[in-house]
Symmetry: C2
Subunit: 339 residues, 2 copies
DNA sequence: TTGATCCACGTAAACGTTTAAGTACCACAA
DNA sequence: TTGTGGTACTTAAACGTTTACGTGGATCAA
């Protein structure tokens, strides 16, 4: 592989001169710079990132912690989309990304060790078990960190507005005349708890009395569990006129239960999802839901992280909230009479 | 950051001794080895991958070319799942992965240059425009390469059995009594052309005469375009009894058209997808489709690539075909009478 | 003429490893 | 005694960069 030494030899200059010419230093004459660039092209020189990293202590590599225990991997649209936009922004800024795992060189290591081994400039925690001590060790290390949907003290974070999102959804269906509103929420995490909080807040503001049976839990990303929960709701003596579902994917289980009961959407019952998954928008009618701004979440995570890497002193560890928006599909009817 | 030099000083040995101890060389006494490991733990030493790479010419980093022009990113389940299993297998073997792009250090470069800059040990082309000269430059470079769903001369490849898959689907619906079989295929790529070939082969073997109107194209990953194509099929004087769709996602457009026409699935019309997307299995009835073995595709791509990296002479550049399987959902009726 | 200034380049050390080759010491056989 | 062989290290060079500092020559003012 051709190195700077070869270029230097070819051009009859020192290695330092080649380095400076390629890095745009000012104390190189236009003539020799030209000569060097020509030689680089002709001989097919490519810089060696490892050597550069060794010398400069900068790898231009960002770590991503993306551990999902259920092993849906990139199949979860919310994370996939956020990850994608994180990647795009990183690349735009000249950074590559590396997934952090615990298998460095055939031996089991901690996430932090992996990050240190690769000398990552920074780390984004996109998806992980935040209770895991190994995750916390990484977050509270000396490496610049940004977390998604979880806020840590003195660490940067981007947060989707889960509480406001659910609040807005309740207000929306209320505005269309619904009073008997049920909520099938996902099993407890920081995210679902925030949504639940939003639900309560809206109910309080609207002075809505929601019976206990209207609030049920279902397993995250498990349509079958949602199917059962929906069935129970429909079997109530006084069933809800509108059901909020934990997320667009799980909702499919609910849809099956509703179809099976011979009910039409939205004529007989209204439904609302959460996420803005593509597929649910291809259905007829498209699902009314809350679309999280994944594009912005990923982009911001990357740019905040890079900011903290490149300007450690000026960039404070903020917690930024990204707002989503209502996707008004066709699954919420307008009720004229109030019960 | 603590380096080998610090460890050496602490233990009163040379740097070479530390290196050899850590790398499991045999000419180190058990005593000093112990001392060194203790110092490593106490002082918190982590090896520097850049320095190691510089010296050994091995980065234990695999490149992934994953360029989708439509920018669905990881949202496409087939690629997402394959990528995920590729990643898992790579990590199991001690490799990290790096996405190849064209933005190295703020300047526009070729894919090959990026790969060379990072000194990637090998590259997997998961998703890309294979006509692109920059992609071909990468594939025909000196770097070990494996491609997905495209075979190149003297290069390793893993291929999903698109032809057999579609052939099997036709045989399946034929076996259930269908004769008027339509196929809405995706716009031409190597993949869709193979599927179309499978369709023709099955028709030939079964001596099926398919009218021209039964074969229509629709835009890849565009439910709306599939919606229109389906509508046209349903409006024919003699509509098909079964429609094969290009893929599970696009099929949703077809589903809407069918629902809109007031037809029931599978009582009034049968449908078949391709891919085995999770969501389509959550519908009721679950879609009958061909499930590509993404887990195996990704795993094999990684292990073949690593094999070629670690044993360049013994590992020949094979083309391996991975077979999928029929997912028998509930969307194909059994026809008793033949038309 | 001298001395200051500037330009364009060279020198050399350093980053943290790996590894071929060398060496000091000891044990043991002849 | 000498020679041989093995063990457990050390030495030193090398990988490809970057960068602080040095330097020789040209220019120019006094």
């Amino acid at each position: 592989m051709v190195s700077m030494k070869d270029i230097a030899q070819e051009c009859g200059v020192s290695v330092a001169t080649v380095s400076k010419a390629l890095n745009g230093q000012q104390d190189i004459s236009e003539q020799t710079r030209q000569r060097i660039f020509e030689a680089v092209k002709e001989m097919g020189y490519t810089a060696n990132s490892a050597a550069r990293a060794l010398k400069t202590n900068r790898t231009y590599n960002l770590g991503i912690l993306f551990i999902d225990l259920q092993n849906h991997g990139f199949m979860h649209e919310y994370f996939a989309a956020t990850l994608n936009s994180f990647r795009i922004e990183s690349e735009r800024c000249g950074y590559d990304i590396t997934f952090i795992n615990s298998n460095v060189g055939h031996q089991n290591t901690s996430y932090l060790q992996h990050a240190m081994y690769r000398r990552l400039d920074g780390v984004a925690v996109i998806c992980a078990d935040y209770q895991d001590p190994l995750v916390q060790e990484l977050i509270y290390s000396d490496i610049p960190v940004v977390t998604l949907d979880h806020a840590f003290y003195n660490r940067a974070a981007v947060l989707s507005d889960n509480m406001n999102g659910l609040e807005a959804l309740v207000h929306y269906v209320y505005g269309r005349g619904h009073r008997r509103i049920a909520y099938i929420y996902g099993n407890p995490t920081a995210v679902t708890e925030n949504r639940l909080r939003g639900f309560y807040r809206a109910c309080e503001a609207l002075e809505l009395k929601i019976p206990d049976e209207y609030l049920t839990e279902c397993e995250y990303h498990e349509p079958a569990s949602c199917y059962r929960a929906t069935k129970q709701l429909l079997a109530l003596p006084e069933p809800p006129t509108c059901i909020l579902f934990s997320d667009d994917y799980t909702w499919l289980g609910g849809m099956n239960a509703i179809r099976e009961a011979g009910l039409r959407i939205p004529e007989d019952i209204s439904v609302v999802g959460y996420d803005g998954v593509h597929l649910a928008q291809a259905l007829n009618p498209p699902l009314t839901t809350w679309q999280q701004n994944t594009e912005e979440l990923g982009r911001l995570a990357a740019s905040m992280l890079i900011e903290r890497i490149e300007h450690p002193r000026t960039a404070a560890p903020e917690h930024v909230v990204v707002t989503g928006r209502l996707l008004e599909g066709g699954t919420v009817s307008r009720l004229d009479a109030e019960p």
